[in-house]
Symmetry: C2
Subunit: 214 residues, 2 copies
């Protein structure tokens, strides 16, 4: 599949590299074609790079790997997103008052819903935002089963993202469809707990497993 990855930070590079490794054609997007980090990534990983608009136009699916504070601005630069699946792994973390961060939107709204409202013809699927990027693309690196979530309004888009997750190593039972895009409030609001667990344990390479009765 042709996939655009928006963002040249650790999350973007990690996701983009994994996508290439599992056989996809990937264009990494940044503010302007020729971005140093994107060029280095493309050379090393065997992908291409371009502006946000070029990467979005390239992809049938677009991974939003930008920081939450920049996400809406980046997507506004990305051109026509109609019909595209947006796999949104960002979080609306607000570091303006230092660490630990608060959220810039929560409780009765979420960043995923803001994206879906502003780009109503795109199909936003929130996923993977509840863990460090190393775990996103290598779930089998943890010593037990653990879970990720899907939130989105479009069943086909969720199926597409589920396929990508499977190619990353996620097992079918580890992917929990929470429902429509409003359920992204749940996974985004988990971040403050993630941050506090990280603060207490100093271990970022963890994820949660749902342990159920029966």
């Amino acid at each position: 599949m042709k996939i655009g990855v928006l963002g040249t930070g650790d999350v973007g590079k990690t996701i983009a590299t994994k996508l290439v490794a599992v056989g996809h054609e990937v264009c990494m997007g940044s503010r302007a074609r020729g971005n140093e980090k994107a060029v280095a990534w493309a050379k090393g990983a065997g992908g291409t790079e371009g502006s946000f608009a070029e990467a979005a136009a390239f992809g049938e699916l677009v991974f939003n790997c930008t920081k939450g504070e920049h996400t809406l601005d980046v997507l506004r630069q990305a051109g026509d997103l109609s019909g595209k699946v947006i796999a949104d792994v960002s979080n609306p973390l607000d570091f303006s008052k230092g660490f630990p961060p608060s959220l810039s939107v929560c409780n009765t709204d979420s960043l995923a819903e803001q994206i879906q409202r502003e780009f109503p013809r795109a199909h936003v699927v929130k996923t993977l935002n509840t863990m460090a990027n190393s775990i996103m693309v290598d779930p089998r690196s943890l010593p037990d089963a653990h879970h990720t979530f899907l939130s989105g309004n479009d069943a086909d888009a969720k199926a597409t993202v589920r396929g990508i997750l499977a190619s990353f190593g996620w097992l079918p039972d580890e992917i929990i469809d929470l429902g429509d895009i409003t359920t992204a409030r749940g996974t985004e609001m988990y971040l403050p707990l993630w941050v506090r667990i990280f603060g207490a344990t100093k271990i970022g390479a963890f994820n949660i497993k749902l342990v159920k009765l029966g």
Copy 2:
């Protein structure tokens, strides 16, 4: 230990019954002595009952098992809480717009912090608020290890609560001290994810296990 349990709902009854079962003297508190539910509980479980103030005066430790919307009002009725440990298992769930609930306080504050600010001489310890009450008091009913959290400013109070959790069946490694009372923002903000997982799976008897590298 002498323990006051505030609240006659399912959480209060479950916690109070377990506390008696593991050897504590328990007084269940409600709006007024003679509350039908509290009387029935006391008769069945072998405890006593009284007003919120009577239950709080009775206990060296007070379990707050009231609904979040009532918590501050109840504690204001509970008299002098100086020096007491308040084990706070409540959540600030706002059902005023139906299900799923939002939170009445979050992000840059929490219910636990509101309690600690209003009763500065009490020692608030947030714990067990991330699961159904059946799991709180019977952690070994789940088929794998799983975790609970402590948030509070007073180390001795946290040690006391840790002892209670151990008597419920929690293993030492399953109890994670997140830090001071502000870390309760994390566990309270997990509730929207809990609610969405429950909505998707229809299973309330679950909890999260932290799966870590190494």
